[in-house]
């Protein structure tokens, strides 16, 4: 079996009296697509916020590539190769598509002021590499013809794709996608489905996915975790989860 990339143990997040995440365990291996599902308000986004450093978890440990993430700031975590998207699209909407892609690669560029002022060879080389990577990923999500348009003017589905491309240009090892299919039409969902599979199979990264679209989740996941009201309910392969009586009850019985 492939190597363990993300290892979450007993992750707990409490907001005052509300236990939003209660002792959640998660494991993501290299080149795996793992999904988290659960009803609205189950605490899925909160798990993402804890993993990416936006919240400081009340309890539990997060190991990424064997390193503890506790105590690291959000931007430090993303530099380690754990990058996320948001439930609501967050683009730099007044900047162009290609600028969005370049900003994401900030840390791979030569940000020394003097190097930039005098356009030193190293500055030019890194700038060119970033440009090439941006073009590569825009082509990959079929947005290259829009490169010089303002991101805010793109259609919704294109904005979603740009967000993923922007994350990929940072060269992550684990991509966290928060409901990437929300608001997409069936054709766009199919495209997304293919893209996520390509990320795993061709680009060899892992994806941790939150999604309500069961067709998408069941079709592409290697492993699924179900949480309800912050508490782990079940986990397993898509088939195991589909047949789990607790899951059926949570999804059908009580809604």
């Amino acid at each position: 079996m492939s190597q363990l990339l993300l290892d979450v143990n007993e992750l707990t997040m409490r907001f005052g009296g509300l236990l939003a995440v209660n002792a959640v365990n998660l494991k993501v291996r290299n080149r795996q697509i793992v999904s988290i599902i659960g009803p609205n308000g189950a605490g899925k986004t909160t798990v993402f916020n804890c993993l990416s450093g936006f919240y400081i978890p009340t309890d539990g440990s997060v190991l990424f590539n064997g390193d503890q993430l506790a105590g690291l700031k959000d931007f430090q975590i993303s530099r380690k190769g754990l990058v996320r998207t948001f439930q609501h699209v967050r683009l730099f909407s007044k900047m162009t598509v290609i600028e969005n892609m370049l900003v994401a690669q900030h840390r791979h560029l030569n940000t020394n002021l003097f190097a930039g002022m005098f356009k030193t060879p190293s500055y030019r080389r890194l700038e060119q590499e970033a440009m090439d990577r941006a073009i590569y990923w825009l082509e990959e999500v079929d947005l290259l013809q829009h490169a010089n348009r303002e991101a805010g003017y793109l259609a919704y589905g294109q904005q979603r794709k740009l967000e993923i491309a922007r994350c990929m240009s940072t060269q992550p090892e684990l991509l966290l996608l928060d409901e990437p299919a929300a608001g997409l039409n069936p054709f766009e969902t199919k495209e997304l489905d293919q893209l996520i599979i390509r990320l795993r199979d061709e680009h060899e990264i892992s994806v941790l996915l939150i999604e309500h679209d069961m067709g998408l989740v069941m079709g592409i996941s290697d492993h699924i975790y179900v949480i309800a009201q912050g508490t782990p309910l079940a986990d397993g392969t898509p088939d195991e989860v589909k047949q789990n009586p607790d899951v059926i009850k949570a999804y059908l019985g009580e809604s």
């Binding site: 990416s52 936006f54 959000d74 931007f75 430090q76 993303s78 530099r79 990058v83 996320r84 998207t85 948001f86 967050r90 683009l91 730099f92 909407s93 007044k94 900047m95 162009t96 290609i98 600028e99 969005n100 370049l102 900003v103 994401a104 900030h106 840390r107 560029l109 030569n110 940000t111 002021l113 930039g116 002022m117 700038e127 440009m131 073009i135 290259l144 490169a147 010089n148 303002e150 922007r166 994350c167 940072t170």
Partner: protein, 416 residues
């Protein structure tokens, strides 16, 4: 309709209350006691007319808006020739502009050159604040503090240690940057309104400090007799100070006080060109893009590995150093500075320049700085109403063109 009637009554009521308090009654001395006197009939007439204007203005707000909407908006970018012809034309136009700027002062009056110098100072300040507010989106209401730091740096170093203008220029920029850094560090985690209030307070602190530290800064009396800049050691005064030579002696021409004015103007042109060039490069560098990204979405920046503290600090520090640069020149040109020159209104004017110009746009800021310094001069007779006109201009602009005179244009990147 009911909503706008209610609005109109409300606005007219507020106008009436304010006008009554500020214009309708007057406090005066009567012998040894204070007495309140009411205004005469003609003033009440004016107040009622004003209330009427506000009432109908609000009642027909939509129509007024439509009226503003109908004023044509010049599309400046359409004037620009497209594509390759622009690329060949651009260097020629720029050199023509620079030559024009250099030749022009020899053909006009002293007053005009002096005004142009002042305009150039405001251009520098506007460009500097544009980094902080227009690009990085950090509302700084105490920008004038850094301007003061720059000015006092030169004034004090020259008075106590005899440093020259040219030596002080980088020192002033560095010192202002240091102040920006020290202030920025604790406050940059604040957002929006909070940041505005803290910077406002900082601006006042610096001014009050300068006012009260009498032993060093001279307090409200300020510092006078600040050395003028020299041209490679040549002075522009009538008689040289000990061991120096004057410009007119060296070149064997007659003394003219105009030389000094033109010289100062040329320095200002030089400084502005340097500032424009540097900021223009910065905007195209990773740091410039990061500033804008931070303005657009801070959370997305953090999720992509951008360290917001470093990025905000760099915007704040570089903006401050530009103000320090401008301040140093201001002290040298003026020859006299006092805390009076660094009041809040100055910060407000510089901010207005950035907003009027079109947040983030360099050409816009330059145009707005020209408008904001030349208009008050043209309307000298109305100088009592300066703030009133200032307010009116802002209201009209926000109605007519909220995006500013020349909204920022995105750079077009070649993909190859």
């Amino acid at each position: 309709m009911r909503g706008s009637l209610y609005n109109a009554i409300f606005a007219a009521g507020i106008t009436l209350v304010l006008a009554c308090l500020m214009l309708g009654v007057r406090l005066g001395a009567e012998g040894t006691t204070l007495a309140v006197t009411g205004a005469g009939a003609d003033r009440w007439g004016w107040i009622l007319a004003g209330v009427g204007v506000v009432f109908f203005g609000q009642l027909f707000a939509n129509q007024v808006d439509a009226l503003f909407g109908r004023i044509p908006k010049p599309n400046l970018s359409a004037l620009k020739p497209q594509g390759s012809s622009w690329n060949t034309l651009k260097p020629w136009l720029l050199s023509a502009l620079v030559v024009g700027l250099l030749v022009w002062p020899f053909m006009v009056s002293r007053g005009a050159v002096d005004l142009a110098t002042l305009t150039l100072i405001y251009i520098m300040l506007g460009l500097g604040l544009n980094i902080v507010v227009g690009l990085a989106g950090l509302l700084d209401l105490g920008y004038v503090a850094f301007y003061a730091v720059g000015a006092y740096t030169y004034a004090l170093l020259s008075e106590y240690f005899g440093f020259s203008f040219w030596m002080c220029l980088p020192i002033a920029a560095l010192l202002a940057a240091t102040f920006g850094f020290i202030l920025g560090f604790p406050v940059l985690r604040l957002r929006g309104d909070y940041l505005a209030i803290v910077t406002l307070g900082f601006g006042e602190m610096i001014r009050i400090l300068l006012n009260n530290w009498t032993s060093i800064t001279g307090g409200p009396n300020g510092i006078s007799g600040i050395e003028k800049p020299t041209l490679f050691g040549l002075e522009f005064s009538r008689r040289a100070s000990e061991g120096n030579q004057t410009f007119h002696e060296f070149f064997g021409i007659d003394y003219s006080s105009g030389h000094k004015v033109i010289f100062l103007y040329l320095i200002a042109v030089l400084l502005v060109i340097i500032v424009i060039y540097l900021i223009n490069r910065l905007m195209r560098m990773p740091i410039g893009r990061a500033w804008e990204a931070l303005r657009e979405d801070e959370i997305a920046c953090r999720s992509l590995g951008l360290n917001r503290t470093v990025i905000k600090l760099s915007a704040f520090t570089l903006g401050a150093s530009t103000a320090g640069f401008a301040g140093c020149f201001f002290a040298a040109r003026q020859g006299f500075i006092s805390p009076e020159s660094f009041i809040f209104i100055e910060s407000a004017i510089i901010l207005a320049i950035v907003v009027l110009g079109g947040m983030g746009s360099q050409i816009g800021v330059i145009l707005a700085a020209i408008v904001m310094t030349i208009l008050p001069e043209l309307a000298r007779e109305f100088s009592d109403y300066r703030m009133l006109m200032f307010g009116l201009l802002m209201v009209v602009m926000m109605r007519w063109r909220p995006e500013g005179l020349v909204p920022m244009k995105r750079p077009h990147l070649e993909l190859k």
